[in-house]
């Protein structure tokens, strides 16, 4: 189908829930009110690491207005975690707390204030243990164990993979660079704080409404944690007011609300405070990185060797995947024939890190793009030209056995170079400064790539990753049921657009019923940029099945061959005899008369392309998006302050199903990237998060957001629905290194860690004035021995595996 043949696809339509969001109609989890509802609060640990000697809840339970008080002893003795390999969490800690904010008791009461007062009356006797607050401390104190499992004392996971002979690759290089980088942790900062309502009914069945990105995984894990049949548990994802990866795990507050509801026989609501959201976290891992890359004189990469140390926090969460992701995606962007990756995730007594937008990849992306910038300088090359030269080949495999399909990165680069005026603004290495007074202007460039959906579920299975059921009603409307969760990215809207396109009706004629485990087929959740592609393909499949049946019925009525029929403008008919076309509603009636109830399923599972080595399951994706970014900014040499002027970002989205939504994702990514690059840091003092509030945790406002020039590049990927790839995460990735590179262009200092604060810029400028290396960044690496790498042959340059050969197609 060519673009001009589309009626809905490619149109800048408002989201189907836009009116409700704007007018305040949308009912988030915290807006739900049920009769007789109780309110719950959690008591959280004030200690970063301590043994629990005793808990006495008697005074709390005796407080008037309290319905139930529970501790870990009131829950089945089950440890859980989102990944089967990291079952290390308890909703309410029984023996030990591992961070400030770990929950130890929960209270349901007639209102929140009473519940809070009762929490204060719970007497917990702690025996404090030494708190390990950094990678260095955790490795230096193997005698203090945060967990008893893992790949070593306080080492959650250690991985080492080698694809090809990296030493030979360095020997063949004209320039070998070794650089060290640090990427500070930061948090998702969704506007909506997590909330849940649990109702354990008199029929002994449980319903949970929650602000979650993964109702299916919560459903599975609740059954396990509460030791009840999954068939008696229903999870409904309420509309989510921002996720960014922060609502992907099962959480203590959800589990506590369920158990409290079971005990007190009332619905129970629990809503986290902003402070608690900072403790729940699962955000960006702080990652220390060592990167060694060989380049030829012309700028080609001969090989690359990356080491990453992740500060994981107190629990596993998605951390094993995060660790692999710090290594998996770098080879997807550029021709990188040989690759070695070593990574380790270390436990610390801080809130657990997990999957924030870009999951594990912004950190090594920052390292690689900043290093390429330096290599370009040493080789005397234009950093845009160097990148253009080494863009990966479409329809090939990478060194680490990932199959890439379409690649629009070359066009992305050309378009941002053109739009930004790069050729005039970038005036060569060590060109005289631009600007007046102490204010210097600079431009920087960076690229990235990201997966469109993880190739594997978090638990091993052969079932679809996404499914829909589509039902046509006699009024000419269509209902689509799908387990996907709209977290603001617009997945509900996509589920309306795609069937509307296939069936020739208006998106308004499609009613979307998302994320209810009783009613909707499973979708694994809103993570890894998987939803548009996976539920989109499933939705097209179901709609196409419905259309076939409608065409049969209409063809019989009109006495024509079904192959001559088209569906458009809410009609079905023969194009050159359109006067006789039937309305869509009539077509549905005929179809239902012929076939019975019109309900059709669509299913999607990604192609099975995991590399045939241990660890090869992390990184494969149906297709990859690409982005290129140019930033123009000013640096004040007296204050070190950075002001952004313009960001040009070109994104290869495959096809923009709705360009308005894609632009929204790009702009949101740029905005988030600015925060990560310049301000945001999840840092601790006296074992506690230093700034757990929206005022003191500095994240940019609209005033810090520059003009964002979005350029959409369409490559029509064969794997995506109507050719679409992801847009939710990829455009974030090049922003941080492009900013760092632009700062170098402006004032000649390298800041090798984010956030790039004005203090760091000023410090680097002082070093420069003193004639010292003008760099601020990590100076040393942890003493840590990686295990012997698994050596696998590089698959670089091999032709891609078969395209669009997927299960259930």
């Amino acid at each position: 189908m060519n673009k001009h043949e589309f009626s809905v696809i490619g149109q800048p339509l408002p989201k189907i829930d836009a009116w409700a969001k704007v007018t305040g109609e949308t009912r988030y989890a915290d807006d739900l009110v049920l009769p007789r509802m109780a309110h719950a609060r959690l008591l959280r640990s004030p200690h970063a690491h301590a043994r629990i000697a005793a808990i006495d809840t008697s005074r709390a339970a005796a407080l008037p207005g309290v319905y139930a008080v529970i501790t870990g002893a009131d829950l089945p003795p089950v440890k859980f975690g989102i990944l089967p390999v990291s079952q290390d969490e308890e909703a309410l800690c029984r023996e030990k707390v591992r961070m400030v904010g770990d929950a130890v008791a929960a209270v349901a009461a007639l209102d929140e204030e009473t519940a809070e007062r009762a929490c204060e009356l719970v007497e917990v006797t702690y025996e404090p243990l030494p708190a390990l607050m950094s990678i260095e401390e955790s490795l230096a104190h193997p005698e203090v164990r945060i967990h008893e499992y893992g790949d070593g004392p306080n080492v959650h996971k250690s991985v080492a993979l080698q694809f090809g002979d990296v030493e030979a690759a360095f020997a063949a290089a004209d320039l070998v660079r070794e650089d060290v980088f640090f990427y500070e942790g930061n948090t998702h900062l969704p506007l909506e704080q997590h909330a849940a309502v649990a109702h354990w009914g008199p029929d002994d069945k449980l319903t949970l409404w929650s602000s979650t990105q993964t109702p299916h995984y919560v459903h599975r894990l609740l059954a396990k944690i509460l030791a009840v049949p999954a068939a008696h548990v229903r999870v409904i994802a309420a509309p989510v007011g921002g996720g960014f990866g922060g609502k992907l795990d099962p959480f203590a507050h959800e589990i506590a609300a369920c158990q409290l509801s079971r005990l007190c026989g009332r619905p129970v609501k629990i809503a986290l405070t902003r402070e608690e959201v900072f403790y729940v976290h699962r955000g960006r891992h702080p990652v220390l990185m060592w990167l060694k890359t060989g380049f030829t004189r012309a700028g080609d990469i001969t090989g690359s060797h990356l080491r990453t140390w992740l500060d994981g926090g107190a629990y596993g969460s998605y951390g094993v995947a995060s660790t692999f992701y710090t290594g998996a995606i770098n080879p997807v962007t550029y021709k990188m024939p040989v690759y070695k990756f070593e990574g380790a995730r270390i436990f610390t007594n801080k809130p657990p890190c997990g999957p924030k937008r870009g999951h594990g990849t912004p950190q090594p992306r920052f390292a690689l793009e900043c290093q390429i910038d330096r290599a370009a300088e040493q080789l005397g090359l234009d950093p845009a030209d160097l990148r253009r030269r080494i863009v990966a080949e479409p329809y090939t495999k990478t060194a680490n056995h990932l199959t890439v399909t379409t690649i629009g990165l070359g066009e992305c680069l050309d378009r941002v170079v053109e739009a930004s005026g790069w050729r005039e603004k970038w005036r060569g290495w060590n060109a005289p400064p631009r600007g007046r007074g102490p204010v210097r202007r600079g431009v920087g460039i960076a690229c990235s790539s990201y997966m469109t959906g993880a190739g594997s579920a978090v638990y091993w299975n052969n079932m679809p990753h996404s499914g829909v059921v589509l039902r046509a009603d006699r009024g000419g409307g269509v209902a689509i049921l799908c387990g996907a969760t709209d977290i603001g990215q617009g997945s509900d809207s996509i589920l309306a657009y795609l069937p509307a396109e296939v069936l020739g009706i208006d998106p308004k004629d499609v009613r979307v019923h998302p994320a209810d485990t009783d009613l909707t087929p499973v979708d694994l959740g809103s993570y890894s940029s998987r939803v548009t592609l996976m539920c989109g393909v499933a939705a097209i499949q179901a709609a196409t099945r419905l259309r076939e049946v409608l065409f049969q019925a209409v063809a019989a009525k009109l006495e024509v061959d079904p192959s001559r029929l088209v569906a458009r403008d809410r009609k079905v008919g023969v194009p050159d005899d359109w006067d006789r076309a039937l309305t869509f509603a009539q077509a549905v009636e005929l179809g239902e008369a012929m076939h019975g109830v019109l309900a059709f399923a669509g299913s999607y599972a990604p192609p099975k392309r995991a590399g045939k080595y241990k660890g090869g399951g992390v990184g494969p994706s149906p297709c990859y998006s690409y982005s290129a970014c140019v930033v123009e900014l000013s640096v004040d040499e007296d204050t070190g302050m950075v002001e952004l002027h313009d960001v040009w970002l070109a994104h290869d989205v495959g096809r923009a199903l709705n360009p308005l939504l894609v632009e929204g994702q790009v702009e949101g990514s740029v905005y988030m990237g600015i925060g990560e690059a310049l301000m945001e840091e999840q840092v601790f003092r006296k074992h506690v998060h230093k700034t757990p509030s929206m005022l003191e945790y500095k994240s940019p406002t609209t005033l810090e957001t520059p003009a964002i020039h979005t350029i959409l590049v369409e490559t029509d990927d064969p794997e995506g629905p109507f050719g679409a790839k992801e847009a939710g995460q990829g455009p974030l990735l090049p922003v941080m290194p492009a900013i760092a590179n632009a700062i170098y262009d402006a004032v000649g200092v390298r800041i090798d860690e984010v956030p790039i604060t004005s203090e760091k810029v000023l410090r680097a400028l002082d070093l420069k004035r003193q004639g010292k290396p003008a760099r601020v960044g990590p100076e040393k690496l942890p003493l840590f021995t990686f295990k012997t790498p698994l050596v696998v042959e590089s698959a670089f340059g091999q032709p891609a595996d078969a395209i669009t050969r997927r299960p259930f197609a």
Binding site: H47, G437, D636, P692, K698, T701
Partner: protein
């Protein structure tokens, strides 16, 4: 953060009624005007008043009168956005209009009052935290504890004066009128403040700040620069208020007052004295900026590192003077938004 705790709200119509109400409320009573600082602090249980005497309905407390020639009197509950956009203030007392316009966000400036900003609670990032946080870290002497977490050996509290308008009013030579049930007094604004993070006001709790009186503006030029991480929301991490009277391009009188470097606005007296009799040449400005940075002794209890805030004192004083000298504007146009 939890919801507000229960309290009694009294809404007098006149200053006399308000003074009586706050006297009757005793130690559990507090005054509230816009509430933009007090209410969040109550939600964090930093203040637990039993009675709030609201000044919103006291009409005589609101408004701007007078002229640049005779001096201007501002009612204490005049909202900050009105101060920021008042044509006479913009023209004759530009530093005050600028400072009022840089407080927090537009929404808060539409609620927050000038008097409230002058009296705003001192801040410290060990103190402006929710109750469970303070419990985890250990309570400090400003609330619920008995030590200072910033300077553990200290006997005093080092919370930071975080008003944008107070240093400006000090530099302008403003006076404040305080009214209580037992009488009233008008004092220079520098006598309103004390160098203590807890007892940071010399005002008695039963006294109501009713008016801010500005002296005549003729011959004076003034400016205010603010350091903060973002262009909105943030409290000052450094404020520089400069007021000069120039005679034939020579400085006849000068006041430089620093905000957010101590528990009260901090005058840079030596620096100001060094300006008198001088022309604002780049050399003079550089010398005076070095002197002005002397009294700034920030501690590690706000955003930015304290050595950085100290360094920026010199830069911001130089820029403020450069601006008043009409020298080419250093830095970006929005630098006061830093």
């Amino acid at each position: 953060m939890m919801r507000l705790p229960p309290f009694l709200y009294v809404s007098p119509r006149t200053v006399a009624e308000a003074a009586k109400a706050v006297a009757e409320a005793g130690p559990g009573g507090m005054l509230v005007a816009g509430g933009t600082d007090l209410y969040p602090n109550m939600k964090r249980r930093q203040f637990e008043p039993t009675t709030l005497v609201g000044l919103a309905a006291v009409r005589e407390l609101r408004g701007v009168r007078g002229s640049a020639r005779e001096g201007v009197t501002l009612g204490a509950t005049t909202i900050l956005s009105a101060v920021a956009t008042h044509p006479d203030l913009l023209r004759h007392y530009p530093a005050l209009a600028t400072a009022a316009g840089l407080v927090s966000s537009p929404q808060l400036r539409n609620m927050g009052t000038l008097g409230g900003n002058v009296c705003v609670d001192t801040r410290c990032n060990y103190y402006n935290q929710p109750y469970p946080w303070r419990k985890a870290v250990g309570f400090c002497m400003k609330k619920d504890g008995d030590i200072c977490l910033v300077a553990p050996g200290s006997r005093r509290c080092w919370a930071v004066s975080s008003s944008d308008t107070a240093p400006v009013l000090w530099s302008l030579g403003a006076r404040v009128r305080l009214v209580s049930a037992s009488g009233e007094r008008t004092i220079p604004i520098d006598a309103l403040f004390r160098d203590d993070g807890i007892e940071y006001l010399a005002k008695r709790p039963d006294e109501i700040l009713t008016e801010i009186v500005l002296p005549p503006a003729e011959g004076w030029a003034s400016t205010y620069l603010k350091l903060r991480r973002r262009g909105s929301f943030d409290f000052p991490e450094l404020g520089v208020a400069v007021a000069l009277r120039l005679e034939d391009a020579t400085v006849a009188q000068a006041r430089i007052v620093l905000g957010a470097v101590a528990s009260q606005p901090r005058p840079a007296t030596k620096a100001a004295r060094a300006l008198v009799g001088q022309r604002l040449t780049p050399d003079v400005i550089a010398h005076v900026a070095d002197l002005a940075a002397g009294p700034a002794r920030p501690l590690d209890n706000t955003d930015f590192t304290h050595p950085y805030r100290k360094k920026m004192t010199r830069v911001f004083v130089a820029r403020a003077l450069g601006r008043l000298a009409g020298l080419e504007r250093a830095g970006r146009d929005e630098e006061e938004l830093a």
